[in-house]
């Protein structure tokens, strides 16, 4: 990792008011070609951290250093998209081209680029459809396509798999893994520890400040998770992967099992 170039870094970043800070003294560096997952409970400041990385929010204290000329793209949570807005897939993707050409209509080269990026994401035939007429996976792909049209070096994604089923989650993660293997650095936020975070090369556990930062095997342990989520959790190993289990569920399950056994063997 040390050989990789640093794309951007937060140093001592604090956001919000003194008594109600969303982020406190956060240090976080993102490097070339990295695939990072930011995890934490609701209200932990994950989206705020992403916004600070993206530059759409300024920290109250601390600094944000970006490599000169860094091309970034931001994919917001699908829940924040106005799906009723009158915009077709092609119009949506073309929004990424805001610099350079000023004419409203796309040039021949731009049309070819949009077709190319939509084709790469297997949604080429949907270009003239309204964004609401698509399935959940297709909708997510449209916003990834918009991000990719700007040819970013760093892709920031807010909860890309929130509210999607297992099949769709696999589909999105497979796509992101493929993009990362082609050289795109990705930072995403997620609630899903087992389905997403455990599969990423690097996890950042956040709850207003960084509690843990490293590979899943190093970070996903009972101590870090309890400090991050404020609840007792256990980490098991399955197929060489860490699996996080809610201690309440385990206790409840073992209690239920013993109760069941007692009722059969009085």
């Amino acid at each position: 990792m040390s050989a990789r170039r640093e794309l951007l870094a937060l140093a001592g970043v604090t956001c919000g008011y003194v008594d109600d800070a969303v982020l406190v003294d956060v240090d976080l560096a993102i490097h070339d070609r990295e695939f990072v997952g930011i995890v934490g409970p609701s209200g932990a400041g994950k989206t705020t951290a992403l916004r600070v990385l993206a530059g759409s929010m300024r920290p109250a204290h601390g600094s944000v250093a970006r490599r000169a000329g860094l091309r970034m793209a931001y994919v917001p949570q699908v829940e924040t998209i106005n799906w009723s807005f009158p915009v077709t897939v092609r119009e949506c993707v073309l929004m990424a081209r805001v610099t350079g050409r000023r004419l409203p209509w796309a040039s021949r080269a731009e049309r070819a680029q949009v077709s190319d990026v939509l084709g790469r994401l297997d949604i080429g035939e949907l270009a003239d459809r309204h964004i609401r007429e698509l399935s959940g996976g297709q909708q997510q792909r449209v916003f990834i396509a918009r991000a990719l049209l700007g040819e970013p070096e760093l892709l920031l994604m807010d909860e890309p798999t929130s509210g999607v089923d297992v099949r769709l989650r696999h589909e999105i993660m497979h796509l992101l893994d493929d993009l990362n293997s082609r050289g795109l650095a990705i930072v995403l936020t997620t609630h899903d520890l087992n389905g997403i975070a455990a599969h990423l090369p690097r996890i950042v556990c956040l709850n207003r400040s960084v509690i843990g930062d490293g590979a899943p095997h190093d970070v996903l342990n009972a101590d870090v998770l309890e400090r991050t989520y404020g609840a007792s959790m256990q980490v098991l190993e399955h197929g060489g992967m860490p699996v996080v289990v809610d201690s309440f569920r385990r206790a409840h399950a073992s209690h239920h099992a013993s109760h069941h056994a007692e009722s059969h063997h009085p």
Binding site: V22, S42, G43, G45, T47, T48, R51, A54, G55, S56, M72, A73, Y74, V75, P76, Q77, E79, T80, I81, N82, W83, S84, F85, P86, V87, T88, E91, C92, L94, M95, A96, R97, V98, T99, R102, L103, P104, W105, H130, G150, L156, D158, E159
Partner: protein, 287 residues
């Protein structure tokens, strides 16, 4: 019959009025698309009332109406824009205070000092009779500015309207886009005030855009359709205003409302669903 329909074209005031009404309809139709999609309808309504204060003050001071009310309107627009972006207090409350206070000031000034120049009724409800060459020039200048902005900053305006946070990350100066849009909105209201009146301008901003939304799912087509629909409503409404001897503002608004009802019925469930979604705002982003 044809002679009767063409007879008003013999009068210069009618030709001026028709030109201003048609251009005003097109202008409000186009700007209205952004107003409706950004959820700025209340700002449009408020700004039109705020301009009334400027109209009264310029009348009292003997200042040119377009300059006096224009400066007043642009100041109000920038103030509203700043309040809306900073979220110091609720934007609806802030707009309500700024614009209704301005409207009340206009009414008080008229009550205390009377009016010179333009008529009180014309300012409130629009009138074809007072349309002069300066109104034609004003609508042409504002039209060139507004359509110039839409043409040259089409992509940035669309991105800012649809997804301001991501537009910001992509390098769009969204604060500047919002300020430009609000100033153009104030200028459009000012230039159309003579034929539509301050109490009815908001309807012409909203109705053509709402009709266009029922007819298409594409932003580019919505913009084109709203412009044409606004122009047609202005043209037809102004002709009816002359023949029915009703003020131009209400006639134009009633033509637009009738067209809205017809399209609402004709497009069935699809149109209704699209119309219902116009005001649907995305939920707040998670923390």
């Amino acid at each position: 019959m044809i002679d009767e329909l063409l007879r008003p074209f013999d009068f210069e005031f009618f030709r001026n009025g028709l030109l201003v009404a048609t251009l005003a309809g097109a202008l409000c139709g186009a700007i209205g698309v952004y107003v409706v999609l950004k959820g700025m309808s209340y700002i449009g309504h408020g700004l039109s009332h705020a301009l009334f204060g400027g109209f009264a003050a310029s009348s009292l001071l003997g200042v040119n109406f377009l300059l006096g009310a224009g400066a007043w309107g642009i100041a109000s627009a920038l103030m509203i824009n700043a309040v809306t972006r900073r979220r110091v207090i609720g934007s609806d409350a802030a707009i309500g205070v700024i614009t209704t206070a301005s409207f009340a000031l206009g009414l008080a000034l008229f009550a205390l000092f009377g009016t010179t120049g333009r008529s009180f009724d014309a300012a409130l409800f629009g009138s074809i009779l007072g349309v002069g060459a300066d109104d034609v020039i004003a609508i042409l200048v504002v039209g060139i500015l507004a359509f110039g902005l839409i043409f040259l900053r089409y992509r940035a305006l669309l991105f800012t309207t649809f997804d301001p946070e991501v537009a910001d990350v992509a390098g769009v100066d969204t604060a500047r886009m919002d300020a430009l849009l609000t100033v153009v909105l104030a200028c459009s209201i000012l230039a159309t005030m003579q034929v539509l009146g301050v109490t009815l301008v908001a309807a012409v901003l909203v109705i053509p855009a709402a009709i266009a939304r029922m007819l298409t799912n594409s932003f580019a087509r919505m913009l084109q359709l709203a412009t044409v629909i606004g122009a047609v409503c202005g043209f037809v409404g102004m002709n009816l205003s002359y023949h029915l001897d009703v003020q131009s503002g209400p006639t134009i608004v009633l033509v637009a409302a009738t067209l809205f009802a017809a399209v609402f019925v004709a497009t069935g469930i699809t149109g209704r669903r699209r119309a219902a979604a116009i005001t649907a705002q995305p939920p707040l982003a998670a923390r």
